[in-house]
Symmetry: D2
Subunit: 343 residues, 4 copies
């Protein structure tokens, strides 16, 4: 199928990742993570997130979020997140049904929580009738293509810590944020006070695989048991580890994600100002959100794959991935301009 | 690492599976199973299990079992299984904690349920104080390397159906059973009255991937939601589907599993009768269970990887896999004979 | 302790209810609801809600809501409720953690859902990534002391049914609503299209006890099992049934709840217009919500028990109960007027 | 209904308990346990179980067990119990489905666990694939009418503590055991090393009510939240507390339970030796288990209520309660002798 703008998970895997899988398939290796590839990846995660960082490979993003949050919460705790969080709207109720975690969803203009938005939900501590806010979970980059700065993360971490709470990042697209901000992963996480995170591999270029990272010691009791119980422990773990090994090598993730970001910026620039196209969110990572004139989306979808994000407002989402080419962008942008000019 | 006899999940992936992964990574493909590879695999599963069969790819065996059983049970139902079932002893409480399913575990001599063993647990129907037996779940081939014949499966299916219950197979090693019995998958499942099954890919030679198969229509309401909620829905599904495509092509699974079985038979034959070696279970699939003289296992483990299955009885488990060679077996058997003769 | 305005669950039990408990304690009776008191109460519920109505007695309001909603939902379903719903804010996460149900909470001005407020949440039917809206749950009378008219309920029932959904009432104070509207229970529920409800006993004048009522046949599969499993099945059920027998006899609930309503109206009338007192919600049932001048609540709380409902807005809640007297109200109102005039 | 031998929960409530309920219904009282009755009962529990003992009143036995065990376990932990435990066979899957706790059920000859029976289940500590044994739960007196001595409890507590585990008692009939052994409650629990227990009120003579007791400090984190979330927190708590106040006053429970025990002993003595009656369990508390000749149970059930415990062995269970009279016993025993002599 030709490339479109539907989702970064429509893309295949980086060639080096495919090579790593093939190369890992030699001889026998202990299962469930007791292999040399996993050991190497754990060391790489320590290099990225600090010497105390522990990492736990899992299958998918929902798994990474749910296992990570289960490891941070008691059964009576709640997690504050944005109303638009993947956790809240795209995980089929797994946080509640599998994790047993009540989400306290907060409306946001741009997919980003702020201390001002979160603070009113941090109430009723010690009241047995109410779930206890325990974690603030943010998505970086957000579901709306926006990015938290280091300072914004630090402010949320401070708020959390002042309340005896923890800060969690759903980093399914953390690579895109780090690339966009041009900072080390550690600056965006460990050094900014983050207590736990999901580090996305799949959308960045793996076949499949995500990692839970616990940057500091003393948190996440029982996470090994929880990963297994949550059905996220791979038997032939070396095949997930080998992929991460390739992704983390030499910051390959940064180049892949940075390219996707650049393609989104190129697309936004190319359609901005075209009659009736309104970009609705700052284009900071690899997604472009826009409102098109009536009928335009339908016409474009005859030739290109992408999703209507909100039927009621006619807002569309265009996602770029590691394999999006400038030619893809230019061809699509030309079609956009043509369609809206004719509508 | 050199090959040993620890587990069939210590093996790598079949070369054709690795090729299929690489080949699948071209261009964009719709995510979450709306891709052509998944469509092709679904057709292959219909070819194997009958035209009504629906298949659902997941990440791992625990996921396949839990999602499958969730789709068959009400929240007040129970599942009867062998005490030795993977479900009961090796899934970290996932059936209970994630699936909410109480297991009724039955002691067996050989890992296999029989109508006689199961019947006493099929009581208290309609009694609100008791969980309601709804599913009989068997493992084929069993955790003890034994195999249910078609007639044995049919008898359990009849028992289940006569009680308004269902028969489920944990088929993490179903390929080994079908290869050993030299029958089509369908004869062992659909035609024998099986209502749902997990079809194992990982141990048979995939990088990772299992399938839930529902052979007949009308069962499994909500399984799509349950797979997602149970965190077993892959975004880049084509990469799991492509592996199954290679595995199912031309019954490649049968050759791989049949070879593993043959190696186990070769091993059993080579050590049987050696002083003090007692084979404890019929060697019907790819595992050999044996009791060794005191100290023998420890000595062997200095050179070979395998697990002590039961510390209290000194029973060991030797597993063969698709990549076990006759030379591996012969070298190991020679060491076994040497160690036990010296003990 | 002298009577205040903290909560209707600060009140004791109706004398007739106490008598009924004592009278029920004679001889032996089958447990778990197979007794004559329960049979009599079930008949009374049929009298109130229609000949198809089934009733299930439970211990408390959270139990009634969670068991009722579990009986209406699949594990992948969601319940739409008001943000202020007891279900959402005062049940300690039981709906999510015990029921496994995701709540879709909707902000409301007055604690009441409307079709306009609910409709935007009824989306993504058939999308496996999203929980499936299955039930609309309203609280009658609401947590803010407001009441749904029969027409308003019918409109919500129509909305639900048009979408293949169900309408549920948390009727912890349903008696107050029926008394206020001066209609039969049936008009407010069965005849208005309600599919399931919790009928509150405790706040209306029982020692303890609530009922789940399923007005129409064919809904609520497995509710007997779910009640037991949710730990809401009393062994000496006759003692809960006997209380309901007394409460339902001759519409005793209507007199008790109507009196509480009248006391709230008397209180509102007595303080309305006093300097700086602003009644914030229509006083339709047995609660008065008001904003007082700064410092006034604290002064009043030196002599009277009541809760500050919202610290941030200084809104207080004054609840009347079946045993509130006109003298209680007048004395309190006088103190309110005095305190606010001095502030 | 006339008194039979079906269950101790067929009995009504002690007169003093009924009086206490009526007396508690005066004036207003803070809800959810912040009342003077609850404070008084908490003091009484400290008197019984030691000055560190904390008590938490709940509605029923399943609630007491599940909340207590949730407070002792992590989500990856398991509870070892007898196969006959109420927890395992009569709580509708609540431990698994609501508590998320896997039970490791152990077959016993007499309903009692011993260190020898338990030890083989205390394996795989630290193995992420297996649930982690965390609690041993025993029933005192047991479901088969047998009693653990202080020394037997101490031995199990020692076993548990040596493994870093805890000992829990389902004490739905703890009063019967303490009366039978003629020891203080504390000797059987706190002083014997018990870490948590359910103290039964309902079967001992309450209308309804059970207590969770945590005898020592430092255990049971979050139990307040868990009680609420498990739907076991009564709003008008004073009515449960007042009952316990009457039950604990002057060891009223001991007289009530001791009487029931005496009636069971009287019954056993009166039927023992009658042709074909075989008492199957030591009669140590308030239950008699016996095997009758074919057809005898059916004939007796025409005039008397009791349960057939095991259809396959024709074993019956006869339970005595606080209100069973010597005349009841003698009349029943006479009928038993007559029926079996005629069979």
């Amino acid at each position: 199928m030709s490339r479109g703008f539907a989702s970064d998970n429509y893309a295949g895997a980086l060639p080096e990742v495919l090579d790593a899988i093939a190369a890992a398939s030699s001889g026998h290796a202990p299962s469930y993570g007791n292999d040399e590839w996993t050991a190497r990846v754990e060391a790489r995660f320590r290099d990225e997130f600090g010497s105390d960082a522990r990492s736990f490979l899992v299958f998918n993003g929902t798994g990474a979020n749910v296992v990570g949050l289960r490891a941070l919460t008691n059964p009576w705790d709640a997690v504050v997140c944005a109303e638009t969080a993947h956790l809240n709207v795209d995980e089929g109720g797994a946080p509640e049904r599998v994790g047993g975690i009540k989400l306290l969803a907060v409306a946001t203009p741009d997919g980003k929580l702020t201390p001002e938005l979160v603070a009113p939900r941090l109430i009723r501590f010690g009241d047995e009738h109410a779930v206890q806010p325990r974690v603030i979970s943010i998505t970086q980059s957000s579901e709306l293509g926006t990015i938290y700065t280091v300072e914004e993360i630090r402010a949320l971490a401070d708020l959390a810590h002042n309340q005896g709470m923890l800060l969690h990042i759903d980093g399914s697209r953390l690579a895109n944020a780090a690339a966009a901000l041009d900072v080390p992963l550690r600056a965006l996480t460990t050094d900014a006070g983050v207590d736990a995170l999901s580090f996305g591999g799949t959308k960045t270029g793996l076949v499949l695989g995500e990692a839970i990272v616990l940057p500091r010691p003393g948190l996440g009791e029982g996470i090994d048991y929880l990963r297994k119980q949550s059905m996220q422990l791979a038997s032939k773990m070396r095949f997930i580890a080998a992929q991460f090994d390739a992704l983390l090598e030499d910051e390959r993730w940064r180049r892949a994600a940075g390219h996707a970001n650049a393609m989104a910026a190129r697309l936004a620039a190319a359609v901005e100002g075209a009659g009736g196209v309104r970009i609705t969110q700052r284009v900071e990572a690899n997604g472009v959100f826009a409102v098109l004139p009536p009928g335009a989306a339908e016409k474009l979808q005859e030739r290109w794959r992408f999703y209507v994000w909100d039927e009621s407002t006619r807002e569309v989402r265009w996602m770029c991935s590691w394999d999006t080419t400038p030619e893809d962008v230019d061809a699509f942008a030309q079609d956009v301009r043509q369609v809206v000019s004719g509508s």
